[in-house]
Symmetry: C2
DNA sequence: TTAGTTGCAAACGCTTTGCACCCAG
DNA sequence: CTGGGTGCAAAGCGTTTGCAACTAA
């Protein structure tokens, strides 16, 4: 079963309609390794179905995010989205220079989260978490200057 | 010398004009412990000078942020601002429930940053960093359900 | 059949910009 | 005096919403 079909089934299982638009959104997300901006997603889906509306893409992403079938990653001002694969939780690092995205193994933040809950009493919500900075490639290219 | 005067001097020292509007923005920021939204700042300044324009507030914050005299804290979609005190670096935790803001001692993130640079080669930029989640008060009020 | 979903267009909230006037240096 | 800064109004941009038509179940 293709990558996105699991998600489509989950959608129906929860009582929502499986419309062509939603399938296309899921398929587009499934075609990419990393996360996509709404605009990228929109362009991608439009190649299959020219009449889809941006609002529909937004509404689909909203629904899918609510159901935890896709994850919303806030990078700077705008959001990016990717399929959720429950067995491979991770967070993100986005390079400010080249926009490349990297996965951040969960244990880094789990440690931080545990310490914060214990020592400060604050429970951070890290589902939509991402760090921005410089990837190793761009770091070396720039000679390591820190802003 | 009052809290914000140091910042005003720094502004002039770098060759920018010290206008009443900028002084008022700095003063408003200095009056508060935590960070303020642009709107709060605007309302505050308007009490002294009814004709200030929102655009001026935005432009002042942009300049001050560029000069590292104020820090921009991204909380969810919008930004909040506070005076920078170089000797007391810290990051932020913002409660999603009650919007209260807490300071996060730098060592928590310094650890994380060091590990990331060493182990993954990624250098996160944490100047404008904040965590959102639930503060201890709201956590207990809600009975600890995690979304 | 019929409630959930879509396309369309308009509105929204926050932020930025163009421009003529103004004032800090 | 003069160029940087301001007020004003309008535009920009990503996102959301109201509504009539449509369609998955």
């Amino acid at each position: 079963m293709a990558k996105h079909e699991w998600h489509a089934e989950a959608l129906r299982g929860k009582g929502y309609r499986l419309t062509p638009q939603r399938v296309m959104v899921l398929a587009a997300l499934g075609k990419r390794e990393g996360h996509m901006s709404v605009e990228e997603l929109y362009e991608q889906v439009r190649r299959q179905y020219a009449y889809i509306d941006l609002a529909t893409v937004y509404r689909s992403l909203q629904l899918l995010t609510k159901l935890h079938l896709v994850a919303e990653i806030r990078a700077g001002t705008t959001s990016r989205y990717e399929l959720v694969h429950p067995e491979q939780r991770h967070h993100h690092m986005v390079c400010e220079e080249c926009s490349a995205a990297f996965d951040l193994p969960p244990h880094y933040l789990d440690d931080l989260k545990a310490r914060l809950v214990q020592e400060v009493g604050f429970e951070p919500h890290m589902e939509h978490f991402s760090l921005s900075g410089l990837c190793s490639k761009c770091r070396h290219a720039q000679g390591g200057d820190v802003s």
